[in-house]
Symmetry: C2
Subunit: 327 residues, 2 copies
């Protein structure tokens, strides 16, 4: 079945070569308390320390690197109000490639400013009336720009898989690997890496309880579309997984479990208080599944991808305060 998949391990390994010395080789942290709570030996791969604060830089840089010289001269376009926007903007600047990012006009001023700071052209659209995907496609056609979507793209998926590759390279075989999922780029790339580097490793996806479309898609074998889920895991507020993603999940992911926002808030606080790291909602998904023992991992060696740290500071402060009241 693997031969039919959009991405193979060779593509992940090639992406890792392209990212060498360019992406941060992020640290792997451990915590005696996390081990005690989960009953497992847990290795946290900290992509919150990645450039732009999230794993997204990996896929963006790899995808732009794979374009022809001619295409890189013309430029690229992406639509995102989140980490993919900043990943694309930084990667394009590093590679000297013109980049346009389609963002909603009501996006937080700080995010617009950050994207522009990286040198990207920001194209605003009205969220109520516009279709960002169509706008990006039209820009692509008019200006000859390559559209780089956030997850449903082979080179993006291969790039995201390099985080898991680094984790296995650092700590050796694992019994389980937990990875958050929105559109499924990180999960599918991680699963490709795991299947090759640790064939016995069970890969589990984790998504917000408020929007379990990936879980339903994997279980039904068909891509399920949902309304924008109401969750603090804004990095996982996707409405459906990618077309290239589903076959990879079917081949290499055992199951997808869900986590509540309350569990995320507690996990964010645990990360800050006990492990001294700042993690965003989506970044806490995989860890929350392990720490709440949603899967029996007692005595096992468990990898957890901490996908990003770009949390709104007001929400972050709220998680700290809420936790304080509970104790």
């Amino acid at each position: 079945m693997s031969s039919a998949l959009a991405v193979n391990y060779a593509a992940v390994a090639a992406a890792a070569e392209r990212l060498r010395g360019v992406a941060h080789h992020t640290p792997v942290l451990t915590s005696a308390q996390a081990d005690a709570i989960s009953g497992a030996r847990v290795f946290f791969k900290c992509e919150n320390f990645q450039r732009v604060g999230a794993f997204k830089f990996r896929g963006a840089y790899n995808a732009i690197s794979c374009l022809s010289e001619e295409q890189r001269r013309r430029g690229v376009v992406a639509f995102s109000s989140g980490n993919h926007a900043q990943g694309m903007a930084l990667a394009a600047r590093m590679l000297g490639v013109p980049v346009a990012i389609v963002m909603p006009s009501d996006a937080p001023a700080m995010k617009l400013a950050a994207t522009r700071e990286y040198g990207a052209e920001v194209i605003l659209y009205d969220r109520a009336t516009g279709d960002r995907e169509a706008i990006a496609a039209r820009l692509g056609a008019e200006r000859g720009l390559a559209v780089i979507p956030a997850y449903d793209h082979a080179d993006v998926i291969a790039g995201q898989g390099t985080a898991a590759k680094e984790l296995f390279d650092s700590v050796g075989p694992l019994d389980y690997l937990f990875v958050c999922t929105g559109g499924g780029g990180l999960l599918s790339g991680s699963a490709i890496a795991a299947a090759h580097l640790a064939p016995d490793c069970v890969v589990i996806g984790v998504e917000p309880e408020a929007g379990n479309d990936a879980q339903r898609s994997l279980r039904s074998g068909q891509i399920v579309h949902i309304a924008v889920p109401d969750t603090i895991a804004d990095g996982a507020q996707t409405q459906h997984i990618g077309k290239l993603v589903l076959p990879i999940l079917q081949a290499h992911v055992r199951d997808i479990v869900t986590v509540s926002d309350d569990q995320l808030r507690r996990q964010i606080r645990f990360f800050a208080e006990r492990m001294k790291i700042v993690v965003e909602g989506a970044g806490a998904l995989a860890a929350a599944a392990v720490m709440n023992r949603l899967v029996d991992v007692a005595g096992k060696r468990v990898g957890v991808i901490v996908s990003g740290g770009n949390i709104d500071m007001a929400l972050f402060a709220e998680c700290m305060a809420r936790g304080a009241a509970e104790v």
Copy 2:
């Protein structure tokens, strides 16, 4: 002059051997934004990821390890309501050594619980009427326990110096090294390591503006005693530096600069928002000196020790919220 100092580099190197595989080899983080703000190339040695959340574990473990077997059988005693207490408690447990910690009866319940969780016997005293140093000394005499003070002890200083040693070993020579100081254990140990591993490196101590006793002591050549300083850097609320510390500072530290609590709050927020790490007040001292350009480090390679991450979550949330209002 070096020959007269209480600690030499061989003692730091021996401590590093004892700590190998026992203490965490903490990561060194860099930040393009920190470089832009400071004008330098900054390497952050993250001791907030150390066991018990601060560098103190290093000195405690080294000091207990250096005791005779007979003394280790009898046990140790320390007085501290901060990171040294937990460092001693954990190190003693790992080495199978009985430990008593003298703590004020009004210490936060969480800190008392954490110290007991590590297996330490907690001896409470009344802060208004008791003298913790005298209580520890009496306990030491009565039970034959070795008193391990928080900083004025050669084996403690040597242990603390291993963090700077790891930093130099990781990133090579530096032009400047900034280190926070309370009693001066970390600063003096770091200075010993720097003098050997990077003789041209200028070592700068950093302390809270509210209590500049170390600065005055270094400049006057005499240990200055002050009232407990009012600062959010509770890890640096010492009233004087150590007797063994001063000669080392005189030999190897260029100057000591001071940082305000406002600068610390902004630095704590920068660490959280931009670098995704949780840092306590004292842990932010050295970085705040660099980011506020208190010393001209333009174009230089600069090491910063981030000493710990054990910040009260309410204070931490307040730093986040205050920053949000400012932006």
